[in-house]
Amino acid sequence: MKKVLGSKLAITLFCLPGLLLFVIFVLYPLYDVIVYSFQSYDGINPGKFVGLKNYILLWNMPDFWEANVRSLYLCGLTMLVDTVFVSIFALIIVGLKPFFQKAYKIAFLLPFVLSISVISQMWLAIYHPEWGILNSVLEAVGLGQFAQGWLLNPDIAMICIGFVGMWWIFGMQMLLIYTGYRSIPENYFEAAQIDGANYFQSSIKIALPLLTNVIRLSLIMTAVGGLYTFPQVYIMTRGGPGGYTETLMMYMYKQIFSNLRFGLGSAIAFIAILETCVILGTITLLTRRERIQY
């Protein structure tokens, strides 16, 4: 047994191809991001070490701060909508008849299986100032005064774009929390019912605490999804109007591929990694509790 399963040659042959791919395309680039961030590098000529210059430059760039604030704002908003609202939705859906449970789950998840490219182009048409369906619907229900060029108004363009991403991953979060709920043994709820709890009491008192792990996972996914909003912005506005929808990733993309500032772009990437670590750490700390066995 040990001879076959412990053969050094076999282990190397099994591990090497996968590990090599992973190291070359994931781990080593991660190290490169840190190295580049201390360099002045245009992607063509060899990079020169410049110390903290990129970071100091970013510190003094109002654009960067604004992009950062926008991304953090989207991060918070996505967590709120796609975890908090979704949890409520999921708790309601679990109580419906099985047919409706299945039908609604499919309806909510359908956008998620489509490409974000299709989704963004579609919403570009939905938000269209002249003939977009959103304006048509508002006019049809008598709210015509709210009809506008959604993506042209600097005050709301960002939230309109953010909404697209939230709508896209809504079903995925729903599925996650719904599945978590379904894995709670039925007798927990039966016990509560015998004690006289109604559906909503038992949802809040029994299901929510047991769902902590799933909700934490959902918070992490939505936080990352919001913070790294990029394709929607790229397709729908490219950061316009007047830079009002430039997210951190859009800003990074522009610095790297339009301005060929690989060093500066990598510094942005490294800051984004640090932010992600802080956010994920906070989420984990806030939702930490005793491991629940059931």
Binding site: V4, L5, C15, F108, P231
Partner: protein, 276 residues
Amino acid sequence: MKNTYVRVLSTVLMGFFALICVYPLIWLVLNSFKPTIDIVSGKSFGLPETIMLENYRVAIFDKDIFRFFGNSMIVTVATIFLTVVLSCMLAYACTRMIWKYRNHVLALITLGILLPSQIVIAPVFILICSLGLVNTRIALVLTVSAFNLAISTLIASSFLKNIPSEVEEAAVIDGAGIFRIFSAIILPILKPAISAMSISIFLSSWNEFIYALVLINSESMKTLPIMLMSFSELRTGINYGGMFAAMVLASIVPIIMYLSFSSQVENALTAGAILK
């Protein structure tokens, strides 16, 4: 929910939200059958007057969508194949074979699922350039595979952990070598995990946007998500009808896959997520 009124009310309410959720997709399909002039003159609401296939003709013949469809298909199939093979082997070595650092390797791989892929776009782009792979499908296959490797390996390894070791013991006693054990015993057992992995790799590869955008810029190599942008880049009069038809064609594969294997797709998506 015991109370019938509450249940009916919740059903209707959730039905309303579900409708809002799918309505944009229905709208998209309906509009793909309307002439662009109708769409942009405010008649996008409602059913098409006649079923018009002109948009599909534009998408298929003028825009040659099946070539991009083919590109997407080649990249996706190759990515699924490469990732499944490599991650099954890696998972097997890390969960079933006997060596000192196997848990360290698995922990290292876990890093890969926490990292959003766009973070390393600059170094990966430089790497692909220096390998001379810009504008090739291989570039996309390698990067997307590398980013899916982590999650697939973990799916496979969590599955392998629950298989009793007697399975291999019996094979070893019969004199089977490691490759025979892997191909004749382990791979068949892994089938459910492989289908979950394939579904999640399919979705991420078919829909890959940012790396497809950066690594491929020649027209003939583009994949569907990038090709779709060519409709809106025209400055003079966007052909919305054609664009909608192309979007429907691009989405048809994932939608059919989801509707026909909905429970498998749901399992694949949650299996991937739970491991994070």
